[in-house]
Symmetry: C2
DNA sequence: CTTGAAATACTACTACG
DNA sequence: CGTAGTAGTATTTCAAG
């Protein structure tokens, strides 16, 4: 863990008993910085400083502290799935044959190599895993399904949910 | 749509008949640029130029073209969910009462306002929607479930799949 | 149509008050 | 936190491949 000190708001404004939301605990300026950088991090530091009404060095120090503290995990370019020829998204529920550690490990190792696999999570309930896979169209998904997904190790059942419309898909945390 | 011309590889190397993957169609340098920016876009342009063995101006022009073409949708800071006090992820399958346009519209409008909702998609199959919601812990999810999810308009059934382990969660497209 | 070298304008970063 | 100064970067211009 990292123990960098972060500026806290004077009004803690916590939700319920004994816990303060780390994001809400930030002061007004740090929140404004995060709001901006989550939306567009290609802004220059001087422009960012002007937006949050701070001098450039002070602003830069805050951004660096937010990175060092681990709150900002990284700054990345996002590729448009459609422009990348992967406009189709499929949610996949997976049930394994056996519930052994080896079985899970083998599946997880293989699942990460599935082309276009963006997410893969162990879940509770009627499925063992949920995956989110990006592909070009139904044809290419059908190929992926027949040639790769069905051959993932230890799979008993696969249920595919084709995404018809992406209502919301964000990396942003509200502030 | 944007019609900016992008550098194409001399070897198209397409998959199967009549289609070329837009990402694979890029030349070696553009792919190297995207690979880097998808991983860490906080790199300076001169450092990026050195990495891809190009002069700074030439490199900058390519990056700008990739943005203008729409392939790069944006550059953003990613917040670490755990550090933000939202270390728990839940996948939620939703079935609506009725399948009318009004019913769908009302649900979609409300779903986007659910605190911590990162994704919401219309899907085929036994559910109408899948949502991904980030929250602090099972307690806070229980509160969210009882106070918000159950009151989303037109909901017949909600099934929650708690994520026990995030195997893979990426915004990166392989190149 | 793209590249790289040089020149200029800004920006990031440091030292200090 | 801000001001002032320095170092380094982004960006334009232009000549050349």
């Amino acid at each position: 863990m990292n123990a960098t000190k972060i500026r806290t708001a004077s009004t803690p404004a916590s939700a319920s008993a004994g816990y303060t939301d780390p994001l809400q605990a930030l002061d007004r300026i740090d929140r404004a910085i995060l709001r901006q950088l989550q939306t567009d991090a290609s802004i220059s530091n001087v422009a960012l400083a002007a937006k949050v009404k701070l001098s450039a060095p002070a602003c830069l120090r805050r951004v660096e502290r937010l990175k060092e503290s681990g709150l900002i995990r990284g700054v990345v370019a996002l590729i448009d799935p459609k422009a990348a020829g992967a406009g189709m998204l499929v949610i996949i529920g997976v049930v394994l044959d056996r519930s052994t550690p080896e079985s899970f490990a083998a599946f997880e190792k293989a699942a990460q190599k599935v082309p276009g696999c963006m997410e893969c999570h162990v879940v509770t309930g009627e499925f063992d895993y949920f995956m989110a896979v990006r592909t070009r169209d139904s044809d290419s998904f059908n190929r992926l399904h027949a040639e790769q997904l069905l051959y993932l190790p230890g799979v008993r059942q696969i249920r595919s949910f084709m995404v018809l419309k992406e209502i919301l898909s964000t990396t942003r945390f509200p502030l």
